[in-house]
Symmetry: C2
Subunit: 150 residues, 2 copies
């Protein structure tokens, strides 16, 4: 096993990828016992905080394509966690909402995920946390404005 101090070890991009990977693994670990994937949880959490989101909006919020979110939504609807009207009242948009069962399922998951986030922030001061927040936001804006956000 090599242990050179090389460029990758100094790249913020690489470190960002690593952090995201570790966070995802930690979330999968606590969600697996609940039979829930990260995207699955993200969808439910989004719906809890913004009831009536459409499939496309949920996809953007969970950082997947609307096609991927669609298959998930259909499964969640089939299993009774989510409801959508059979026909759109205005355009083609079908606003989704949590069922009581979906809300119950989300509660356990939220507790589990929050524990991960708490663990992630352990050892960081309030000041550091808000600093991290600003910096990550800055990265997102810089990357978006640069090319595809125009």
């Amino acid at each position: 096993m090599n242990q050179d101090g090389v460029d990758l070890e100094r790249s913020l991009g690489y470190l960002l990828k690593e952090a995201s990977s570790v966070l995802r693994a930690a979330m999968e670990e606590v969600l697996r016992p609940l039979g829930m994937s990260v995207t699955h949880y993200s969808c439910l959490e989004l719906l809890a905080q913004r009831p009536g989101l459409s499939n496309s909006e949920l996809a953007r919020g969970a950082f997947v394509t609307r096609q991927s979110m669609n298959v998930l939504l259909q499964a969640l609807e089939r299993d009774g966690y989510v409801t959508r009207p059979a026909e759109a009242s205005v355009g083609k948009v079908l606003p989704a909402r949590l069922t009581p069962r979906g809300r119950r399922s989300l509660e356990k998951a939220t507790v589990a995920v929050r524990s991960v986030e708490v663990r992630m922030l352990a050892g960081m001061t309030e000041t550091e946390q808000s600093g991290a927040f600003r910096i990550l936001q800055s990265m997102v804006h810089s990357l978006r404005d640069g090319n595809d956000g125009a």
Copy 2:
């Protein structure tokens, strides 16, 4: 389109996922013209900086399973970007190395990726960057020590 100020907007975990997603998209965008995926590039970059890494070590460095890295390595070997000895000299470990062709291919990719990283860091001071570095490292350590790193 809703625009409530909700919890997700204040979650560092969510923001981390967003940043990672945007970074990945930006990298894919500049690597696509070169016919290269992010994992593909990561593998080459790792080999350039640490020649002789094994398949499993490359997998850990690129945050994928060794099975996934194996299919990539076989393709890279078939196309002449990478070489591995036919038989292991010591254990089962097959140390991989870049061919001249692999090195040439990597050079263009490195330029492209560096431009993305520069764009990402635009508007951040040196102090902020090293602060971000420390904070991300802290997150990684906290999450790892908590469960699977023991």
